[in-house]
């Protein structure tokens, strides 16, 4: 498996322009290639989870704060959009950033008391947060519709085009994924991204170099939460109906598994993770509940064979000794 991925990467590097060109044409023509709304539905989900997994990866992969309650942020974003759109009839395009910012503020509120927590303690807090958000959404009937959920969320429209089916909504998701990748790539390759990574590598050393780790950890959490909010806001009018059952802990674990399978700390990883996991979900639909077993086996297998995830770098913090040794051996052979 490692061989295949190294070859894929090499192919991409050698034929960058052609690959990107063909890739973008294929992406733009996707609804023409697959005119069935069932298949486009799956592709839309893949894109949605790309944003979610990508956002979670910024938290888990780049600054190594372990968040497993990401579904809570997703939930806040979706409900913000739905409530404001249904009750106040505000335009979708305006609500998109509003939901994002609102979720980022929620992220800030969550991380302020937890800045000194690390690893599994932080993970537990985020887990609790996710459940609290879901329970509030379930019980605050006057605002969220309680167990009945929110119905009739208006679909977005622009220049008279209504984004009603998955065929047209695909373009909204695609746009968001492209914006996400563009923005995140730039942030990661700047002073801010480096500060996040320095916190991941060694917090004490980062502080001794003048990095205000509390501030950057909070910023990191807000950035991750922001994209969960955006994803939620895009998701609500897509399904046109939301209730609290969409945002259980399972959802959080689902997103986390995409990040792990795809590869933490890389931009491509979560994208690949989303494709793999969502395809598997569809393939394994006949066995329904047992597919969780399949995921578990997949994750265990990944940890054994490729701990850094599908597209994780062989020099990643997760790669472990096993892979490193192999790579070193290969390097020596090349040198010799």
């Amino acid at each position: 498996m490692n061989e295949i991925i190294i070859r894929l990467k090499r192919f991409y590097e050698n034929h960058k322009i052609i690959t990107i060109l063909i890739g973008s044409i294929l992406l733009l023509l996707m609804p023409v290639i697959f005119p069935k709304s069932y298949i486009m539905g799956i592709i839309c989900r893949i894109l949605l989870y790309m944003i979610l997994a990508g956002g979670l990866n910024v938290i888990n992969g780049y600054s190594s704060q372990f968040c497993i309650g990401y579904a809570g942020f997703f939930c806040i974003g979706a409900y913000t959009e739905a409530i404001l759109a249904v009750k106040l009839k505000i335009n979708f395009w305006l609500l998109l950033p509003v939901a994002g910012i609102f979720t980022a503020v929620a992220g800030l509120l969550l991380c302020l008391p937890t800045l000194k927590l690390k690893g599994k303690y932080l993970a537990l807090v985020t887990l609790g947060f996710s459940e609290i958000v879901r329970l509030v959404a379930l019980n605050w009937s006057s605002l969220t519709g309680g167990p009945m959920g929110l119905k009739g969320i208006p679909v977005p429209r622009i220049f008279g085009i209504q984004f009603k089916s998955s065929l047209s909504y695909y373009y909204i998701f695609l746009l968001l994924v492209v914006v996400f990748l563009f923005v995140t790539r730039r942030v990661i390759n700047s002073r801010i991204g480096r500060a996040w990574m320095s916190i991941r590598e060694d917090e004490q050393a980062a502080r001794s170099l003048g990095v205000d780790t509390y501030k950057y950890k909070a910023l990191n959490f807000m950035y991750g939460a922001f994209w969960a909010g955006i994803a939620g806001a895009a998701y609500a009018p897509y399904t046109r109906y939301i209730d609290s059952t969409f945002f259980t802990l399972d959802e959080g674990f689902n997103i986390l598994s995409m990040v792990i399978i795809g590869g933490m700390g890389t931009l491509v990883g979560p994208m690949a993770g989303s494709v793999v996991v969502n395809f598997l979900t569809e393939l394994l639909r006949p066995i329904s509940e047992y597919r969780m077993v399949a995921y578990a086996i997949l994750i265990i297998a990944m940890m054994w064979l490729r701990p850094q995830g599908l597209f994780g770098a062989s020099n990643s913090i997760l790669a472990g000794r096993k892979i490193n040794k192999k790579i070193r051996k290969a390097k020596k052979e090349v040198a010799a």
Binding site: V183, R186, V187, N189, S190, R191, I192, G193, R194, A195, M197, S198, E201, D202, Q204, A205, A206, R207, S208, L209, G210, V211, D212, T213, L219, Y223, N315, S316, I317
Partner: protein, 261 residues
């Protein structure tokens, strides 16, 4: 001469253990200041107090005539104090250049929107980090390794990267915690020259070290700690002659008549 770093009766107690007990210290601008003492004397703890890693139990620390007692490490770093660690703390999964770029963090101002829109602030910061980073790398002689992951370097080189990273802060004072640990004699010699060179360029340096040859040859003033207490402060001759220092290192010998051991 201007006093750069001053500790006034600084203490740190861990429960009943007095790791650092009422230590006074004065480092003047331009010094190479050595801190020595047997294992467990509290040298590293003392450094940690100065750089803000732990809060002090008692006493005050002044840096550049400013009270920095119990400030956060990142704030102290911004004021111009850089340090290295006894057990090297590099960003192992980042390249050498990236490690050093983080040292420029306090000199850059890029905000989120700057990085997204690639504004002039972003471009200036990146240019500064890239150019000065390469300059520092060349100065410490790691030019060939700029893209190597820091964790993959040899031990001696990792030490150099750590010093280079601290230099990127352009500090007024550099605290080095056992920079020669684990180095062979040749590497130690090179390090000694390097530190002297830095000192000539105007950096004030405080260094904890076990290698006596190193300390006696480079430091102009030396502080000796034992069991958290200051037992001697002065130049190398004065320290060598000090009875308490000899006792701390060699034990209380049987005193032969005439006073020699």
């Amino acid at each position: 001469m201007k006093v750069l770093l001053e500790a006034k009766s600084v203490s740190k107690h861990f429960g009943g253990l007095k790791a650092v007990d009422k230590v006074d210290m004065v480092i003047n601008e331009g010094d190479i200041f050595g801190i020595i003492g047997p294992n467990g004397a509290g040298k590293t703890t003392f450094f940690n107090l100065c750089s803000g890693v732990f809060p002090v139990t008692g006493g005050e620390i002044f840096f550049n005539e400013e009270n920095i007692t119990n400030l956060r490490p990142d704030i102290i770093a911004k004021k111009g104090m850089a340090r290295t660690f006894q057990n090297i703390k590099l960003f192992n999964y980042m390249s050498v250049l990236e490690n050093i770029k983080i040292g420029f963090h306090i000199h850059s101002k890029t905000r989120m929107w700057d990085s997204i829109l690639h504004t002039s602030v972003y471009k200036r910061d990146e240019k500064l980090a890239e150019e000065k980073g390469l300059e520092i790398i060349e100065r410490v002689g790691l030019k060939d390794y700029k893209d190597t992951l820091a964790g993959n370097l040899a031990y001696g080189m990792q030490r150099r990267v750590e010093i280079a990273r601290a230099l990127a802060l352009d500090p007024k004072i550099l605290l080095l915690d056992e920079p020669a640990a684990g180095m062979n004699p040749n590497e130690t010699m090179a390090l000694m020259e390097f530190i002297k060179k830095l000192n000539q360029e105007g950096y004030t340096i405080a260094v904890i070290e076990h290698d006596m040859k190193f300390v006696m040859n480079t430091c102009n003033r030396i502080l000796v700690l034992n069991f958290g207490k200051k037992i001697c402060e002065g130049d190398s001759e004065c320290v060598k002659a000090n009875k308490e220092v000899n006792e701390a290192y060699f034990g209380k010998g049987i005193m032969v008549q005439g006073g020699t051991m």
